[in-house]
Amino acid sequence: MSTALESKVRIQREDFSVTDEIEAIKKSSRNIGGITSFLGTGRESNKGETISELNFEHYPQMAEKKLAEIREKAIKDFGLIDMSIIHRIGNIEIGENIVLIIACGEHRQETFKACEWAIAELKRTTPIWKRETTSKGEVWVQATP
């Protein structure tokens, strides 16, 4: 498990610890009152198909650039104290962590809004692709909102 918390936006193969990431972002300020986190995990079924494995591929450099843009815009537009975004690539087993977005602020309202916006924006703008393995074989997933 990675404890490398050097960057607030990361794309990595290894798993992450939600607790470690929250403790890292807490260091941003002594005035954090609310921290909203979104954790995406691998679901076993999608549209009736049973998924045995997920695999994520990304466009290096562009994906990190888009995550950094999302983080900066979220902090500015929602008045956050800080945000971190981590997305895993490679093979992901059912139940495993895929993506983590943490938004922290003085009050809770802005952290909910920013976190929900950031995951939607990630899906919209960040070049990451999911391949699902089912009994029918491997399928690249079309984007869903």
Partner: protein, 84 residues
């Protein structure tokens, strides 16, 4: 002048390769470049015209009339499906 075109995810499978190098003239736009791409990977021409594929230039999505420069990195990106 030379530019690199990268293929990702399903497009990489379709192209059967990760990238192409193209020698292009001055003032070549992304739209004109996509005609060269179509010669290399025929299926991609229609997908670009029907906007089923996004084109990025140096890690940003830009209009198709943007002119490329020597050393630019272009990529053909199928619809994203990150997150969950």
């Amino acid at each position: 002048m030379m530019v690199t075109v990268k293929y990702f995810a399903s497009l990489k499978q379709m192209a059967g390769k990760e990238e192409d190098q193209f020698n292009v003239n001055e003032d070549t736009t992304l739209e004109q470049l996509s005609e060269l791409i179509e010669k290399s990977v025929p299926q991609l021409g229609n997908m670009v015209r029907e906007k089923k594929v996004i084109i990025s230039l140096n890690y940003d999505v830009v209009p198709l009339d943007t002119v490329v420069k020597d050393g630019d990195e272009i990529a053909l990106l199928p619809p994203f499906s990150g997150g969950i």
